[in-house]
Symmetry: none
Subunit: 102 residues, 4 copies
DNA sequence: ACCGTGGTTAGCTTTC
DNA sequence: GAAAGCTAACCACGGT
């Protein structure tokens, strides 16, 4: 009774081919959905892997004696600078196109 | 161009070049720190790019008529399955080591 | 002069009556705010007390020879089951409303 | 096969009696463990309920026009005062006992 | 255009 | 003293 976990289209929990296409479940739309879902999951995995990598770099830096809290602050600051710069550039572009300088 | 923003000690808040390498500012440690920072920033950029990609996939799916909220829930659910599986495995290991089965 | 940071709410730091209502400081709103703040603080206290209790149970279990790490994992797992169940229900609702079955 | 979630003692995810005592699983220890687990889960539930309540109070305050972010700051400040006070008291006690004033 | 919700990240506490 | 788990702040998305 607590068993039918998948009374709705939650194909499988795990790394796996779900070979039998679910084409009949929701019609063609099912295959389409499945494709979107899988693309997203793939991207999320890569994202998680990068987050992992970042943690490792911090750990390494820490092992070398750096204070990670300070490092984070630094990076945040630099990012803010970058964003600011970008906005200024965009504004400039805007001006240019407004003046017909494309 | 947006290069070498920061050699080391939170140089300036502003867009600017200070080409002269900071090798003497903080000694060798400065170069080391800079290297860590740049590695992290590189990884963060990639991560942001992936987040961008994900958004686009959602947008595309939405354009095809799918409800993104539902999609997100589905994905969350599938992720939970994966996580749960992983935790169960860990618990099993824990039991084994507790019983001396290494 | 760093004194009375709180010409306004922040009446006193401590167990204490501040009988004279601050009704004139910030107008009626002040009394209202004070009431909200106190309600929250009361609830936070109870929450902290429960956290304390939980720690004690773990300590007792540990004293009886159980491995708390395993216990925690077990509990987390059981919680995940509950959460998953809940999410599945929500997803089902989502589907229904998406299909107009309200 | 992905079904037997509970190849190990994870009774059930849900509101449920696990009537048949697990006395044979791990011997008497099983019942003891179960009892601890349930006590903790009960406490965790109450804690979660309080967190819920707190959120509601914030929501209500917000509805009345208060800025919750500011409120949180206020509360944090007041809490710090309380903690500080407490620490001072403890220090005082320490002094007293050190001097034999119990 | 705003609000509410959900996800992410950072800081803190506690454990080993 | 390091590692992990928990909690709280922040941010971004989607809906109204």
């Amino acid at each position: 009774m607590s068993e039918n976990v998948a009374s709705f289209p939650i194909p499988e929990p795990q790394g796996d081919e779900y070979e039998s296409q679910p084409k009949d479940v929701g019609g063609v739309a099912g295959a389409r959905l499945k494709s979107f879902i899988e693309r997203i999951e793939r991207l999320e995995e890569e994202k998680a892997a990068l987050a992992e990598d970042i943690k490792e770099v911090y750990a390494e830096a820490k092992g070398t004696g750096f204070d990670t809290k300070t490092m984070r602050k630094l990076i945040r600051l630099r990012k803010m600078d970058g964003d600011k710069r970008r906005e200024e550039d965009e504004l400039l572009e805007l001006y240019k196109s407004a003046v017909g300088l494309v």
